[in-house]
Amino acid sequence: MRAITSFYNKTRYFWRRLLIAFLTLVLVAVFGFLLIKLMPGNPVDTYAQTLMTERRIPFEEARALAKQMLNYDPDEKILVQLGKYIYGLLHGNLGISMRRPDITVNRLIAGFLPWTLFISSVSLFLSFIVGIFMGSHMAWKRKGVGEKAALSYIVVSGSIPDYLWGMILIFVFGVRFRIFPVQGNYDVMLEYEGWPWLLNVLYHAALPVLAYSIVQIGSWALSMRASSIGVLGDDYIYAARARGIPERIIVNRYLRRNAMLPLVTSLALSFAGLFGGSSLMESIFNYPGLGQQFSAFMGARDYFIIQGLILFMSFMIVLANLVVDSIYSLIDPRIRRST
């Protein structure tokens, strides 16, 4: 019995987090459900129209079929509808297109998420690494020319949203100098295998990755600079200097590693934010990712797909928050005691 209470006390923070995460997930699902209720028009009728013309069946029959396929019946009581909807979600059914029965959210995610994650995670990790080095250097050599230059870069790069950087890059490298391709993920003429294909994929990803990174490097560098300035005031840095340890080793082993720690948390959370992709960036580069699909289905007013995609993105964010919080509570006992 004592073992159980002590286990509970140690992991109490985690259970609380789990409860909050679960509650948030339920609310997110309810929000997704209300989205369909809020939308103009009736999805079942729209879908029934499609089925009627497609299969040449009478409207009543088509409507019954539509209700069944969409897992949604506007004639039932609202709580029953919600229950059915959540039941579908628990079985991994995120939703089906209102216009084309062969398109489901699960299939969309399977087909387009890899491309989205490819360009966005490459740019996230690239800019994280560059930003870490830039930020720690800025903090170490404060008030130098390097810091001034870096700060100017950060202000200018941060002033233009990443999708506009995308347009600028297309204009400069794609149209003026014709160095990089500006559309799609790879040449359709190429075979779907081997090194040439892989190189072609990387070649096509160059501009989108650059556009993401230009802006992100600046914000990582800025956080790293702030974190490093905090670490520089700590005793062990003074002690290391007093012992005559070479500067390079202080920066590499003492400063950067310690200042990086809080940023790893934001890295994990930013990673969770990538799962939706960026509608604007992917539309500008015509890159077949989830974000581009999202805006395309948005334009077609296909709300079931939209609902499913939003739920998917939110689930990933809630999950990442839970994981980060739990790991943090394991590492840092101070968090366990507070709240």
Binding site: V28, V156, S159, P161, Y163, M167, V175, R176, S279, I317
Partner: protein, 291 residues
């Protein structure tokens, strides 16, 4: 009570103004912002915009007649930019005001009240933080047809208060435990006194900096929605200009580069002004950075 709050606020503001004016970043950023505000207020009067199209004068290079050249339908780019600035700035300003009010009130209530109120607001904040904002903005933009700056600002601010609210709650939480608030409690001073004379001055600079940063995000968001063509109510809005430039193939036509880059540069200048002003204010007013 309110009057005393204002007099003390004015005294504090005068003192802080001196600090702010000695910060070069803040002065430069403030000058850029002021320029845009003046442009939005007086620009359309000084440079009236003529929306009549003219096939013969499309994609003209910049010259005496057209300072920034002409667009794909032969209209003056510079005047469009000036005309559009009014809407862009109105949207940004309104979004900021609504977001700040929502975020501050909810954060303060949550931080001061505690208990069940705090929990409920916390869960709602969590929900808003878990659902990504830009996709939701797109959905709302298609649900409610956006036809004027006010509804655009409402849509934008609906999903941007949560982070601010959480930060303000945390600040109130730490301030509440500090001695000067505890003393106020012991002296039995009214709740209004504690909120307006003790807490507000302490978070005012934080709110001000957030005000500027939210304006900046509002411009990124509104231009993005317009570029996807989901809220094209005002053809001279910078985002709508970019959409037209993109759709008319300005990326591929070298002569059209002025039409494409004019709105980008305008957005960049505005954002730069807001970043500099916010950083400068942070340096000047944030007590933690002054050590």
């Amino acid at each position: 009570m309110i009057k005393r709050f204002f007099t003390s606020a004015v005294h504090g503001a005068v003192r802080k103004c001196k600090v702010v004016f000695s910060n070069r970043k803040a002065v430069l950023g403030g000058a850029i912002m002021l320029f845009f505000v003046l442009l939005a207020v007086f620009g359309p009067i000084l440079f009236p915009y003529n929306p009549v199209t003219d096939e013969n004068s499309k994609y003209l290079a910049p010259g005496a007649g057209h300072w920034l050249g002409t667009d794909n339908l032969g209209r003056d780019v510079f005047r469009q930019l000036v005309h559009g600035s009014r809407d862009v700035l109105t949207i940004a300003l309104l979004t900021s005001v609504i977001t700040i009010i929502l975020g501050t009130v909810l954060g303060m209530v949550s931080g001061l009240a505690g208990g069940v109120t705090d929990r409920v607001i916390g869960v709602i904040t969590n929900l808003f933080l878990s659902i990504p904002s830009f996709p939701v903005l797109l959905i709302f933009a298609s649900f409610f047809t956006i036809e004027d700056p006010v509804s655009f600002a409402l849509v934008l601010s609906l999903w941007s208060w949560a982070g601010l609210s959480r930060a303000i709650r945390a600040q109130i939480h730490s301030l509440k435990e500090r001695d000067f608030i505890q003393i106020c409690r012991v002296m039995n001073l009214s709740r209004a006194h504690i909120i307006f004379s003790e807490l507000m001055p302490n978070i005012a600079s934080y709110i001000l900096i957030n005000f500027i940063m939210i304006m900046r995000n509002a411009i990124t968001g509104s231009v993005g929605i317009m570029m996807l063509g989901l809220a094209a109510f005002q053809p001279s809005n910078w985002g709508a200009m970019l959409l037209r430039a993109k759709d008319s193939g300005a990326l591929l036509i070298p002569e059209a580069s002025y039409f494409l880059f004019a709105p980008i540069v305008a957005i960049m200048l505005f954002q730069m002004g807001s970043i500099l002003l916010a950083h400068g204010l942070d340096e000047a007013l944030n007590p933690r950075l002054q050590a």
